[in-house]
Amino acid sequence: MTVRDIIGILDAELLYGDDELLDQEVAHACGSDMMSDVLAFVKDQAVLLTGLINTQAVRTAEMMDMKCVILVRGKEPHENVIDLAKDRDICVLKTEHTMFCACGLLYQHGIRGGEKV
């Protein structure tokens, strides 16, 4: 699945991302509002779903080599979030879905959590 596919599945709004970013293949995702947990438990997930709308969502994605941040619950990011995402080449989407539903929809379409359980 590509990031472009995710936009369709989540009826998401593209806040930042060029064609190259949108055509990236992604197979695993994680969902959390706690960046501490993302930094501690995430391995190779390429997508971060979060309700956190400050710059640390993008910075955390950057440190974890993630390709895309999806803001859930229709939240608008803080003003400097998109500038940082552009600079770090990380795609940012926004969806009206809740965290639970957004994760569920992606799972239904084949995205997995990457956990070894």
Partner: protein, 137 residues
């Protein structure tokens, strides 16, 4: 080579700038992505800690082909109980910090997990210095 960063303590939005910059530099220097990831996570956690607990500080990154040595020094309040602070989930962070996505008590344990060696010197009311070594392997 050595890279130095001042971490401002009054601006949470800038926390992570040093980690992001070092990550870019290590990429340019050709370090493997697995090593860069460990350095980035360890340093980012430390940088966040400096901002939320110690009103900023100074980072020195000594980089050579075999290893990366990170020194994070602050003049904050110090860590009252290092043993507790190293436990997963133990946190003294405020609700305000948790609202910003941090303070789950994973910082120091995660720094330890992502480094090959870690040492912490701390004195109450004087400050804390954390040293981490990450081997290039």
């Amino acid at each position: 080579m050595t890279f130095n960063y001042d971490v401002p303590g009054d601006d949470f939005t800038r926390a992570g700038e040093a980690s992001g910059d070092l990550k870019k530099k290590l990429k340019k220097l050709g370090f493997p992505s697995s090593v860069i990831r460990r350095v980035s996570i360890a340093l980012y956690e430390g940088e966040i800690n400096m901002v939320i607990h110690a009103n900023g500080g100074h980072i020195t990154a000594d980089v050579n082909t075999d290893e990366i040595n990170l020194t994070l020094a602050d003049v904050g309040p110090g860590i009252p109980d290092i043993e507790k602070a190293m436990q997963d989930g133990y946190s003294t962070a405020s609700d305000q910090v948790r609202n910003l996505g941090f303070g789950a008590g994973m910082g120091l344990p995660n720094m330890k997990r992502n480094s090959d060696e870690i040492s912490i010197e701390t004195e109450l009311g004087v400050g804390t210095t954390v040293r981490m070594k990450i081997l290039n392997q």
